[in-house]
């Protein structure tokens, strides 16, 4: 008989029995037909029931039949306790859902390969600098040099490291889209074919080539309803006509994970997208490109990296030989290059999120472990209530394996139901987290399930089933009928239950310590003195096609700031080249009058160029000297460095800069020079210290220039209002701007507080999720303690009755129960503290202002846990003390 029919026999169990019986009956009928006595024939046949069982076992898949029986049994048992079932499915669902969500993000950010040919051959070229920082931005000449000088790559392409937001006119409709700027070899190196039309080729990326664009499948769908005639259509970009030549395949989301560029444009169109000129093709200073390469078949990544380092250092040697400045030489020769796998695209997104995601993975794994331990202890407690049933099953010959299987089936039902709930929660949780990670912008992550996710879900379900069911089932399997009948106290079972509670306390403590650290970090970041005010400042830019330094634009800007300044409720207005904590930076080397640098010392300072009123607006104090004012506007016309020292160039330095280079002398009236063709600036003021790049850094040394004298592109405009939230002023600012120049709009309007929030994204994510899971852990652990203590009290009702009959006070009985709780708490905390101390070291880089080994943090977590545990244990303890001895003694 085939396996199929045996499987079939499992589901039609009754029919199988009927068939066997019918064959037996037919046998007896034959005997009677032969003239034998019916009773004699039946006797001769033997024990029909035994024969039937023997035949039945042969003709079905036994384990499956048993399994289905167990399944039905488990379903019945669970359905009888809907409260327990709901709690179990919810806690497992939360645990599994959180794990699945985090894993799907790890999958999307770190594991998924790009849908291009042989993605494992792709590598990104990274770059390191003398200061030890690493990055991956290259200039076009350097890209060309590496491309033409190597023998290890079959192809290289360069791409602007971020997507550019551009305004285009399609069929008379103006809209903003994302554009990726790529070198002509882009699609060829990736080895892609177009969904329709053609992709970019080298000829598209030569200066003067006709402007062409490849659009994404989604853009094609969204705006052209997948009309094939889109190939050859044109749109205008900065008043240039651009021809659409093709569409990328639907599964392709570009090479910058997290983005989904609507347009892919050749670098020859950089001027239309980024503004400026085409100097970047020739000069080394424009480092805005990421470079990806395809290894030649059979070339190992480390061999390729070695050759790359050699050719790069040749270039550095040549560069260094052209300068005599030792600092400059050191900076040049200190650079290096390396390779990292780019099978999932450029590494930028991975660098930002891999660490918090991996730590979150550990956190949610602990949460699931906690939920499993909790359920395990509840099932164990219930198993004690089922003691009688288990004994009966043992007595009629249920094997140990059979009992274990039955318990595991029950936990499997819970695990599968939990997984189903988890899928729903994972979708909700995952999209919430992606929205957080997007940080106010858009983050395109491909979280469509792939095989890795299914494998993960499968293994997590099996693991949950085992974690939940193993302890209770082993305990049940150990049931010894004789011992169980003589000893009804079940001491070993209570021990196991306690061990599980201790485990829960330990895990909760780890999660609480983590939560305290992450929340503490965030509180610290919100409360530290950054040197500027965070509330009440509105920031925006002028959204216009006009070049940043036309006289008209300068006039509009000046008038706008002046008019806004007169609006009621506005305290001050200003403008700055670099907005603090926005991710932008500008620094350089300076020479300070009267300061002799030590050998090899290079004076590097952070720069900013600000308009008058900046310090009032940001709340950074002027400690000495003066702010910039109208006097400092004129010198922008002084552009003749060759003449005698140009008068009127001024700078304000911050306190830290003053302390470092002027010691106790007054810097006011002294000079500093900046740049190669040195401009001299007179120091007219000293400001308070303020953070520059991010909140976590120490105060940097900063030099402020007057915006009018050192303008480099469009500045950010700032408005300080009297109220905490400045958004109310936006409509009025819009009106003012419309009155000055109707062609201009406000762009990137946001509050400065929001800007600061964005800079501490990872810390906010960790604090929010850490606190969420910490509180969850606390609740789950309390439930566990409550369940186990309540169960123990029920078990010991008789004992308490006797104690009280013999004169024990209520307080004494309560104390007895709570002593158990404190022992579990003590051991659990000891284990938790030891583990947490080891684990928290890993998260150090995500912390700020808190020490992972700070005893106060641990004390806080322990106190929280202790209060909650005693709260959970007190209710059953109180009940124990109210036991009426006469009732208790009759109990059983």
């Amino acid at each position: 008989m085939s396996l199929w029919s045996r499987l079939f026999n499992v589901v039609r169990g009754d029919r199988l029995i009927h068939e066997i019986d019918e064959e037996f009956e037919s046998h007896v009928a034959d005997a009677v037909a032969e003239g034998r006595d019916s009773a004699e024939a039946r006797r001769a046949f033997g024990a029909a029931l035994r024969h039937r069982e023997a035949s039945r076992d042969i003709r079905r898949v036994m384990w499956l039949d048993d399994f289905l029986m167990d399944l039905r049994y488990a379903a019945r048992t669970l359905a009888r306790q809907p409260g327990f079932l709901a709690a179990a499915v919810l806690s497992l669902g939360l645990g599994i859902g959180a794990n699945t969500a985090i894993f799907s993000l790890i999958d999307a950010v770190m594991l998924r390969a790009m849908p291009v040919s042989e993605p494992q051959q792709l590598v990104q070229i990274t770059r390191s600098y003398a200061g030890g920082q690493t990055g991956g931005n290259f200039s076009y000449p350097l890209f060309e040099y590496l491309r033409d000088g190597n023998h290890v790559f079959s192809g290289l392409f360069a791409q602007s490291s971020s997507v550019n937001r551009v305004r285009i006119d399609v069929h008379g409709v103006t809209e903003r889209v994302n554009a990726a700027l790529v070198s002509g070899s882009y699609h060829a190196v990736l080895g892609m074919t177009a969904a329709t039309g053609r992709l970019l080729v080298a000829e598209d990326d030569v200066p003067g080539a006709p402007a062409v664009a490849v659009i994404s499948y989604r853009y094609w769908q969204r705006h052209f309803a997948r009309d094939p005639s889109v190939v050859g259509a044109t749109f205008s970009l900065e008043s240039a006509a651009v021809t659409i030549v093709g569409v990328t395949p639907p599964e392709f989301f570009g090479t910058l994970p997290g983005t989904d560029p609507d347009l892919t444009l050749p670098l020859s169109m950089a001027r239309l997208v980024r503004g400026g000129d085409d100097m970047w093709r020739r000069l080394d200073g424009y480092n805005f490109l990421s470079v990806m390469a395809r290894l030649r078949a059979g070339t190992r990544s480390d061999h390729a990296a070695a050759e790359l380092r050699t050719i790069f250092s040749n270039r550095l040697q040549a560069q260094a030989s052209r300068t005599h400045d030792p600092n400059e030489r050191r900076r040049i020769l200190g650079q290096g290059v390396g390779l990292v796998s780019a099978r999932s695209g450029f590494i930028w997104l991975r660098l930002r999120f891999s660490e918090p995601l991996l730590i979150l993975m550990v956190i949610v794994a602990l949460v699931l472990l906690l939920a499993c331990a909790n359920l395990s202890s509840l099932i164990l407690a219930r198993a004690a209530a089922r003691q009688r049933e288990i004994l009966v099953r043992c007595a009629i010959g249920a094997g140990r394996g059979r009992l274990i299987r039955q318990f595991l089936t029950e936990s499997l039902v819970l695990a599968v139901l939990g997984s189903l709930a988890g899928v729903v929660l994972a979708i909700w949780f995952g999209s919430g987290l992606v929205a957080m990670m997007a940080n106010g912008g858009t983050l395109m992550l491909q979280t469509t399930p792939d095989w890795r996710l299914f494998v993960f879900m499968g293994s997590i379900t099996v693991a949950t089933c085992l974690l939940v069911g193993l302890v209770p089932s082993l305990q049940a399997g150990r049931t010894n009928v004789r011992a169980a009948l003589t000893d009804v106290r079940g001491g070993a079972r209570r021990g196991l239950g306690k061990a599980l509670v201790i485990g829960q306390i330990a895990i909760s403590l780890i999660l609480l310590v983590g939560a305290t650290l992450f929340v503490g970090t965030l509180i610290k970041l919100y409360s530290i003195d950054a040197g500027f005010r965070r509330q009440g400042i509105l920031t925006f830019i002028l959204d216009t096609q006009e070049k940043p330094d036309t006289p008209h634009r300068l006039a509009v800007e000046a008038e706008l700031l002046q008019r806004i300044g007169h609006l009621p409720g506005v305290a001050s207005t200003s403008a700055a080249q670099i907005l603090f904590i926005s991710g932008g930076g500008w620094n350089g080397s300076v020479h300070v009058e009267g300061y002799t640098p030590a050998a090899n010392e290079e004076l590097i300072a952070d720069f900013n160029a600000v308009a008058p009123g900046f310090f009032d607006t940001t709340g950074t104090p002027i400690i000495a000297g003066r702010d910039f004012d109208e006097r400092d506007l004129q010198s922008s016309t002084l552009v003749d460095p060759a003449s005698a020292l140009p008068a009127g160039r001024v700078a304000i330095i911050n306190e830290r800069f003053a302390k470092a280079y002027f010691a106790d002398r007054s810097p006011l009236g002294r000079h500093l020079t900046v740049g190669r063709a040195p401009y001299e600036y007179e120091i007219v003021g000293i400001s308070g210290n303020a953070k520059y790049l991010d909140l976590k850094e120490a105060f940097p040394k900063t030099v402020y220039f007057a915006l009018a004298q050192k303008r480099q592109g469009a500045p950010t405009l700032l408005v300080h209002t009297a109220s905490e939230n400045p958004m109310w002023v936006v409509p009025q600012v819009e009106t003012v701007l419309r009155n000055i120049d109707p062609a201009m709009r406000l762009g990137s309007v946001r509050t400065f507080a929001e800007q600061v929030d964005r800079s501490i994204l990872n810390e906010r994510i960790m604090a929010t999720l850490g606190a969420f899971f910490g509180v969850l852990a606390l609740i789950v652990a309390c439930l566990g303690i409550f369940g186990v203590v309540a169960f123990q009290v029920a078990q010991r009702t008789r004992e308490f009755g006797i104690r009280m009959a013999l004169g024990a006070t209520q307080r004494r009985v309560t104390g007895l129960v709570l002593r158990d709780v404190s022992v579990m708490l003590l051991i659990g905390c000891a284990v938790g503290v030891a583990t947490a101390a080891g684990l928290t070291r890993v998260v150090k880089s995500l912390l700020f202002g808190v020490t992972p080994t700070d005893p106060a943090i641990f004390l806080f977590a322990i106190t929280l846990l202790a209060v909650a545990s005693f709260g959970a244990g007190y209710a059953p303890a109180w009940r124990a003390a109210r036991v009426d001895p006469t009732v208790a003694l009759r109990h059983e």
Partner: protein
């Protein structure tokens, strides 16, 4: 199944042998055929014939089919499969080897 049986071991051989010459027998007829062929020497415990049949069916040596007899009662008729024929040859030669060996012992000792 594990109960010792005088026919244990040879029951399979007898069933296979009889079915090889008379396919389509049902359980009762198979039993009487064993009685008759052995001239009333070999008796099968009637009930235990069926688990044995089902086991051989499971092993793929025989296959069964329900058929309706003249009396209107249904009976399960068995016949040999190709694997069963091979098994029969193997069992037969094993049986010959064993009985020959036993006979040799009886003769020489």
């Amino acid at each position: 199944m594990s109960k010792p049986d005088s026919l244990q071991g040879s029951l399979d051989l007898l069933v296979l042998k009889i079915l090889s010459s008379r396919p389509g027998l049902h359980g009762y007829a198979l039993m009487t055929a064993i009685h008759a062929a052995s001239r009333d020497v070999l008796h099968v415990e009637e009930g235990s014939l069926y688990p044995a049949l089902h086991r051989m069916e499971e092993a793929g040596w025989i296959r069964a089919e329900w058929m309706t007899k003249d009396s209107g009662r249904r009976a399960r008729a068995y016949e040999l499969t190709a694997a069963g024929k091979k098994q029969l040859t193997a069992e037969e030669s094993r049986w010959q080897a064993v009985t020959a060996a036993v006979n040799r012992v009886l003769r020489t000792v």
